[in-house]
Amino acid sequence: MAITVRIPTVLRPATGGAATLLGNGATIGEVLGKISADFPALKPQLFNDDGTLHRFLNVYVNDDDVRYLGGVDAPVGPNDDVTLLPAVAGGALS
C-alpha cells in the first residue's frame, strides 16, 4: 500500500519536479530510504551519513513531527500522509 510523501519546493529539483511521491515501508526510515533510492539526489538532503534524519529537515506523519515519534523508527501505515518541510532556523553572529 502506497504512502504519499509531500515534497517541498526546495527539494523538488532532486525529484525531477515532483511535488508528491509514493513510497512504502513500515517506518519513516524505510519510506524515505526507498524514495531516496529512486531519487539519489534526495538522499543527502534527507539523511545524515549515520542514517539519522537531517537536522535541517522536518518530517511529519500526518500532523506529528517524527522527532517526537522515534525519528527514522517512527511507524507509518498505509493511510498516513508524510510531509517534508525544510526546518526554518538560523542565528546571529557569535
Binding site: 526546495v10 513531527d65 510531509t83 526546518a87 526554518v88 542565528g91 546571529a92 553572529l93
Partner: protein, 134 residues
C-alpha cells in the same frame, strides 16, 4: 522587493521584543510578488539569544493553511538582539529557499532596524522593503 504594512511591521517588532532576551521569529505568508498578507509569530524553539528555530508544528500548519487559501509561505523574520540586521553565516547556511524573503530585525539600537534579503546559493542580496500605511 518586500511589501509589508505598518501594522505587520509593528507586529514583528512586538514579537521580537517579547522574545527577549532570546531571538524572536515568525513566518511571512503572502503572494509570490512579495506582498505580505499575514505575519505569523512563532515561538523560538531554540530558546536562544544567538539562534532561532520556527516551531515545527506551526510551520506545517502555516504551510497547509497558506496552500488552502491559495497563498504561499514567502519568507521568515527573525531578530538579532545584539548585532546588525544582516544575515549571519548560520543564517546563510540554513536558508532553505532561494525564493524566500529573509527579513531581519536588529534590536541593537532604537528604533529597530528592519532589512530584507534574498539568499541564493550562499549569496546575500539586500532587497527594498516597502512599508505601507494601511
Amino acid at each position: 522587493m518586500l511589501t509589508i504594512s505598518k501594522r505587520q511591521r509593528d507586529a514583528m517588532i512586538a514579537t521580537c521584543v517579547r522574545a527577549l532576551p532570546d531571538e524572536g521569529c515568525g513566518l511571512l505568508v503572502g503572494s509570490n510578488d512579495g506582498v505580505v498578507d499575514e505575519v505569523v509569530p512563532s515561538e523560538n524553539v531554540a530558546h536562544s539569544a544567538k539562534l532561532y528555530e520556527i516551531d515545527s508544528k506551526l510551520l506545517l500548519r502555516t504551510f497547509r493553511q497558506a496552500e488552502d487559501n491559495g497563498k504561499e509561505v514567502i519568507g521568515v523574520f527573525h531578530s538579532h538582539t545584539h548585532s546588525d540586521a544582516y544575515p549571519s553565516p548560520t543564517d546563510v547556511v540554513q536558508a532553505p529557499d532561494p525564493a524566500w524573503h529573509y527579513l531581519l530585525l536588529s534590536l541593537r539600537l532604537v528604533p529597530t532596524v528592519l532589512r530584507s534579503y534574498a539568499i541564493v546559493d550562499g549569496v546575500i542580496n539586500e532587497e527594498e522593503v516597502v512599508v505601507e500605511e494601511a
